[in-house]
């Protein structure tokens, strides 16, 4: 089973502080989504792409696959905005007695929104592909999010995998006995699987609580976090980078 997660555990940016990577992705994402020019988001896209594929060494094919869905969505939005938003005529297409008129302000809007979208997605992909979940939880803790929220996310993160594995095992067991051979049977098998999975999850949650209690669980999950600080130089570099992006926004024409 290929989870995105496998890449976070083995990429060339593993040595870099997880906190730094999270800050880098999130701050850039913010700057990108508030940009007033399409140049900054496109720049962000290129930089993030370079960081993810070239620096971190994520296989380009895999990255392209992940990008495909948002890019397709972006293309559709671009066309829609170009032709159906705005007032100022730009150019027209005549096709089979139909006239489609693109608008100038629609074009600008399309450029900015699609740019922002691509930039933001590339930020999130950078985070998802290079930063282990444990590091992200540490950042969330540092941000003083409620313990319940963090504890729950940690447990969900761990048990999603356990549950998926369990579900796959059940599915194989069903398929082995021709569980999904026709439509009606598929529905029946799927409903059995879902019900069974629920009961088993309940059961294993119970057992896990017993196991946690036996190690002195007191209602809050205490675990060791990575306390190493972000190197000053990296922090300065990050601040400089974000400043450049913001000032580009101010200098470049809207």
């Amino acid at each position: 089973m290929q989870f995105l997660e496998q890449f976070t555990l083995k990429n060339k940016l593993n040595g870099v502080s997880g906190k730094l990577k999270t800050l880098f992705a999130v701050l850039t994402l913010l700057v990108c989504s508030f940009s007033t020019t399409f140049i900054v988001p496109l720049l962000v896209f290129c930089i993030m792409l370079a960081f993810t594929v070239v620096v971190a060494g994520i296989p380009p094919r895999f990255y392209a696959k992940l990008m495909l869905a948002p890019a397709g969505f972006g293309l559709v939005s671009f066309v829609l905005m170009l032709f159906f938003f705005g007032k100022e005529p730009f150019f027209s297409i005549h096709a089979g007695g139909l006239t489609l008129t693109a608008t100038k302000d629609g074009f600008d809007m399309a450029l900015i929104s699609v740019g922002r979208m691509l930039g933001s997605v590339s930020c999130l992909l950078f985070l998802a592909l290079t930063t282990p979940m444990a590091d992200i939880f540490t950042v969330l803790k540092k941000l003083k999010l409620p313990d319940v929220f963090i504890d729950l996310s940690m447990l969900i993160y761990r048990f999603i995998v356990v549950m998926v594995e369990e579900a796959l095992r059940m599915e194989y067991a069903q398929k082995m006995r021709l569980g999904y051979s026709d439509v009606k049977g598929s529905f029946r098998a799927l409903s059995l699987l879902a019900g069974n999975l629920f009961v088993r999850s309940w059961d294993s949650a119970d057992k896990m609580l017993t196991a946690m209690n036996s190690r002195g669980y007191d209602g809050i999950i205490h675990v060791l976090d990575d306390e190493s600080p972000i190197p000053r130089l990296h922090l300065l570099g990050l601040a400089g980078f974000e400043l450049v992006l913001v000032s580009l926004n101010l200098i470049l024409p809207r």
Binding site: P132, R158, K207, T210, M212, R215, I221, L224
Partner: protein
Amino acid sequence: MHALETVDVDFRYPNGTHALQGVNIKIKTGSKIAILGPNGAGKSTLLYLFNATFKPTSGTVFLNGDSMHYDSSSLRSIRQKVGIVFQNSDEQLFAPTVKQDVSFGPLNLRLSVEEVEKRVSKSLNMVGISGFENLPPHNLSTGEKKKVAIAGVLAMEPEIMIFDEPLSGLDPRGQAELTELLDQLNADEKTIIVTTHRMDFAAEWADEIWILKNGQVIKKGEPNEIFSDMSLIHGANLQVPMPIQTHNELYLRGFANKQVPLSVLELVESVIEFSGEDEYNNYYALAKDDFAPHDECFIGFENGALVAFPEDFKNCFARFRCTEQVREGKQIPIDLSNIPEGKVWIVRTPSSLEGGAEIMLVTVVRGLIDSKKPHRIGAMGTVAKSIVKNTGLNYDFGGEVVNSAVSASRRGLSTMIFATGKMADLAAKRIAYLNQRMGEEICFQMVDEEL
């Protein structure tokens, strides 16, 4: 002194199942205990009572002579002293990374971060996990997950460690490693309690066995006592271990003495002692070289045929001295009364490795092996194993090390055992015990080199 004791303990689940009925158990401090019984006998329930996860419906559980209380501060101290490793590691490991999971217990004991860091790396070292600290548990194999689960309990430094079905789901090598880890923990003066369905393991490993059935103790005793009672064993849906089964057959047909063997080694000794060593039928091996009288000769199987080489080789299982001139390609008679003495050396290694110490050790270990020239190398415990590996050698015996070494010595091959910390004493004790049981003297020697 008893580490744990239950007096007239009854336990009923909320759904009415009467899981334990008037259970009286005493567990000696520092012993190795196996609890056997059919499915549904109440074994797991009993374990939960030992750790105060469940409170008995009636009766009392004593920990180190004091009756258990169930308020939150008592619970914390009980759970620090009595750790449970669950059967399914996936239900025990919950944190995003291995290191975080192991740190959970000690942090709940309100220890300082430095202390917790120290304990985490110490316990991970002890179970032989390194390089996985920052991985999520689902990236590990079943055996590795089990080890992490053990490290998580170990980091709380309990006096008593309880394992529910520790061997289930592990491959043979994993089982051997785990058995050894249990011995290592016991050598560090921890009381170890396991439940298991593996009879051969229970027979060989445990000091004392308790058998539960339908929520009651039906028998307790030492392994040889327990397993010589056939009707009891079958009545409890259990099975007699292979060596004992084989021994019974041989004994009833007049080919073995009466002593109950707990391992293959003891079984073989029992048969040999009975039949006498002169009774060996002479047999022959194919000489792969020229041999003169008094030459050393190593025999073993190659492609199904018994062959003799003048030097040790991979499949060699015995060494003896030639009595006559034999040319290459001829049959060489094997005279088993002419087996030279196989020695056993026990070398104590440190119980933990500080950085850098390993490089120095490698030279010492190499020197030892070069001077004593053992035919086989054994390694007990994670540190000893890693030292031997770092020397660039492979150990021949990694599980059941002492039995294998004693067996080899009876076949003329000498073994050097590297044992981690207190496991060296354990190995020496074990050899002395086997000597006494077999009525034979295996020459063994503690090597007191400063390692």
